[in-house]
Subunit: 411 residues, 2 copies
C-alpha cells in the first residue's frame, strides 16, 4: 500500500464519517447511522472509493478497541456489578432466543442443521459498539437501562466468542479426530469466563503503582500513552487467550476509571478516539454490498426477502430479551431495542462459515444485510421510543436533551 | 498481519519510546535520543521484537506528517517570512556544502561518480522531525535560531526532494531514452517550489469558511477531525505532485495557526501526536543494524570507519551552514548543530540507490549509521551548547528552563 493510497483512505473515511454523521444528526437521527450509511455508499460495492484493505481492517479493530476503552473509562464498576444479575438475565435470554429463532428460521429456509446452527450462533452477540454509541448519543449511556445493556452486551459477547471457539474446535476435531480437543475447549471456556474478573482484580492491584510511576514521568504525553498501552496490552492478552480484545480494552478502562487520573485520561483519549473509531463504523458500512439492496433487480429479491425475514427474527428475539429484566420502572423496550444491533461478531461467524463451506455467498449477503438493518434500526427506533417518553415544549427544539448533550460533548 | 501482531508492535513501540525517552531525560539528554536508541535495540537487527512491516512504516509516515502539522500549528507565518532570507541562506549553503563534501568523500573512497553524486544528494536534507523535536525539548523551537532552522530545513527538504525527482527522472530517461522527460522535470520543479506558496494562499482563503462551517457542526470531534483531515489532504496533494507530504502537513498547520480555533486544535492534536509520532522515531532507530556498530567484529571495522568519516563530513558541512547566517547576536553554532541531523530523506535516497544498483549493502549501512550518528549527536550537542550559554544557580536544578518547559508540556 502506497502512502498516497493510505492517506486517501483515511481522508475518505473521516470525511464520510463526519459529513454523513452530521447529515443524519441534522435529520434528527444518531450520527453513527450516518457513518454506517456513508461507509456503504463509498465502500467497495458502492462508489468503490474505499477498496477493502487489510490495514484499514486492522485500524478499524484498533478503533473498536479504543471505543470500548473509552466506554470502560466512563463506566462505574460498582453500578455494573450492582446491575449484574439483571444484565446476566437479559444476556442469557438474549442468547437463547436468537440462537433458537435463527436456527428454526434457517432450517425452515432449507439450510442444513450444522449451517443453521452457525447462523443461529451468529445471531447471538449484540454489537456493543453500535449499541453504546446509539445510547450515548441520546444521553442514555449512564441510565440504568444503558448500564444493564452494557453489562448484558459484554456478557453475550464473551459467550458468543466462547461458542465460536467451541464451534471452531469441533470443526477442526471432525476433520482431524483424535487431536484431543475437549481439554482445550474446557480450558478456553474457563479462561474466557474468568478473564474479565481476573483482569479487574490483578489490574486494580497493579494500577496504583503504575499511575504513581507515570505521575513522576516528565516525558511528553506519558499519561495518555501509558493508558493507551494498558488498553492495548489488555486487548492483546484477551485476544491471545481466545476471548475478545474489546473485553480486554473495556476492562482496562474500568480499572483506570477508578484512579484519580481518570478525568485527564478521558479528556486526552477523546481526540484519539475521534480519529480512530470512525474507521470501525465506516468499515462495517463498507462491508455491505448496497447493490444487493436494489429491489428492482429480480436476482436480489429472494436474498432481500430472506434477509428481511432474518432481520425480523434477529431483531425480534433480541428485543424480547429486554423483557427478561425484572425491576420497577425499568423501560424494558429501551433495553430490548438497544440489545438488537449486530455487528463485528456476525462478520466473524459469517467469514468462518464461508471459509468452512457451511454457508454460501447468498447467505453471507443475508447476514451482512441483517447487520445493516439491525444496526440502522436501533438508533432510529431508540430515538423514537425515547422522544415519546419525553415531553418537548413546542418551539424549543434546541432544548431537547439530545441537543444539549451534543453541544456539551463537542469540547 | 494478525491483529495480535499489530497490537504487540504498537505496544512495543510505545513502551520503548516512553521508557527510553524517560531514561534519556533522566540522564539529562533529550528524549528523542531515547526513542532512536530504543528503536535500534528492539528493531529487526537488535532484539528482533519489531520485525519490519509495511503497516508500521505507513503509520510512521503518518506520525511524521502529524508531527509537522503540529510544528506548523506552533509556527508564526510572519516570523517565518521575516526570517526567510536568513533561512534561505542557511539552506543553500547547507545544500551545497554537504553535496560537494559528500561527493568528494565518496570518490576518494573509490565510489563511481554517479554513485558518489547520489550519496552527496542524500547528505543534503536536514531531518526536520529530529531537529525541531530536539530544539523544542530545550525550549528553543520558538527562538530566532529555532525559526531560522525550521525555515531552512523546510527549504532544503523541498530542494532535496526536487533533486530526488530529477535523479529519478534522469535514471528513467537513461533506461528509456526518448520518453521526453525534460518537460516533466521542469514542471515538477516549478510545482515543487510553488506548492508551499500556493498552498498558503489558497488555504488561507478557504480556511475561514471551513472553520465557520465546523463551528456550526454538532457531531463529536468535528474540529479535531476536520483539521487532521486538512493536514492529510495537504500532505496527499504534496505527495501527489511529487514533493514531500510533510511540507503539505506543515503548511496546513501554518494556515490553521492563524485562525481563532488554533488553541483548541493544538490541545486536541497533542494526544494524537503523542501516540503516532513515536512510531516514526522508533522506526528510524529500528532501521539501524546495531550489530554493525560492534567494533570488535573485524568485518565491521571498515564499514564503521567509512561511516564515521561520512558522519563527520555530513555533520561538519551542515554545521558550517549555520555560519552562513548574517545578523547580530545570532547563535550560529545553535543553527549549525540543529541543521545537522539527517533522517527520512536519506532513507529514501539510500533505498533508491540500492534499488538502482548505484550503491551496495555496505554503503547502505554507511548511510544508515550516518543517520544515526548525526541524529544522536544533535540533541546531545545542542544540550551542551545551550547549557554553556545559560547560567544556572547551583542547587536549583529544577529551575532550569528545560525542566520548566517539560512540566508545562505535560498537560
Amino acid at each position: 500500500m502506497a502512502l498516497e493510497t493510505f492517506l486517501l483512505d483515511l481522508i475518505i473515511i473521516l470525511v464520510v464519517a463526519k459529513a454523513f454523521g452530521q447529515l443524519m444528526q441534522r435529520l434528527g437521527q444518531p450520527f453513527v447511522l450516518g457513518e454506517l450509511l456513508g461507509g456503504a455508499l463509498v465502500g467497495m460495492h458502492g462508489l468503490g472509493w474505499l477498496p477493502e484493505h487489510e490495514f484499514i481492517h486492522l485500524l478499524a479493530q484498533v478503533g473498536l478497541i479504543l471505543l470500548l476503552f473509552e466506554i470502560g473509562l466512563e463506566t462505574n464498576l460498582d453500578t455494573l456489578i450492582k446491575l449484574g444479575p439483571k444484565s446476566i438475565m437479559v444476556a442469557i435470554v438474549g442468547i437463547v432466543l436468537p440462537l433458537a429463532g435463527g436456527y428454526l428460521f434457517c432450517t425452515s429456509m432449507g439450510l442444513a442443521p450444522m449451517s443453521a446452527l452457525l447462523v443461529g450462533c451468529a445471531f447471538t452477540a449484540t454489537s456493543i459498539g453500535i449499541s453504546v454509541r446509539a445510547l450515548a448519543e441520546l444521553g442514555e449511556n449512564k441510565s440504568t437501562e444503558g448500564q444493564i445493556v452494557l453489562g448484558a452486551a459484554l456478557f453475550d459477547d464473551v459467550v458468543g466468542l466462547l461458542i465460536l471457539s467451541v464451534i471452531t474446535a469441533l470443526v477442526e476435531q471432525s476433520r482431524n479426530p483424535g487431536a484431543g480437543g475437549e481439554h482445550s475447549i474446557l480450558f478456553v471456556s474457563i479462561l474466557t469466563l474468568l478473564f474479565p474478573v481476573l483482569a479487574v482484580l490483578i489490574g486494580s492491584w497493579l494500577v496504583k503503582p503504575l499511575i504513581r510511576m507515570v505521575d513522576k514521568m516528565t516525558v511528553r504525553g506519558a499519561m495518555v500513552v501509558v493508558s493507551v498501552v494498558m488498553a492495548l496490552v489488555f486487548a492483546f492478552i484477551a485476544e491471545k487467550i481466545g476471548t475478545s480484545p474489546i473485553i480486554g480494552a473495556f476492562t482496562a478502562g474500568l480499572i483506570l476509571a477508578r484512579t484519580h487520573r481518570a478525568d485527564v485520561i478521558e479528556t486526552q483519549l477523546k481526540p484519539i478516539a475521534d480519529i480512530v473509531t470512525p474507521i470501525f463504523f465506516v468499515s462495517i458500512g463498507a462491508s455491505l454490498n448496497i447493490q444487493l439492496l436494489n429491489p428492482f433487480n429480480p436476482a436480489n429479491q429472494e436474498i432481500l426477502l430472506i434477509a428481511l425475514g432474518a432481520s425480523v427474527v434477529a431483531f425480534g428475539t433480541k428485543f424480547l430479551s429486554g423483557f427478561a429484566c425484572i425491576g420497577e420502572g425499568i423501560r424494558r423496550s429501551v433495553i430490548g431495542v438497544s440489545m438488537a444491533p449486530r455487528g463485528e461478531v456476525v462478520l466473524i461467524f459469517a467469514n468462518l462459515g464461508l471459509a468452512q463451506g457451511l454457508i454460501n455467498q447468498e447467505w453471507f449477503a443475508v447476514l451482512i444485510i441483517m447487520i445493516f438493518i439491525t444496526a440502522m434500526a436501533t438508533p432510529a427506533l431508540l430515538k423514537l421510543i425515547l422522544s415519546k417518553n419525553t415531553v418537548h415544549p413546542i418551539g424549543s427544539y434546541s432544548e431537547i436533551p439530545l441537543a444539549g448533550y451534543e453541544s456539551e460533548e463537542r469540547m
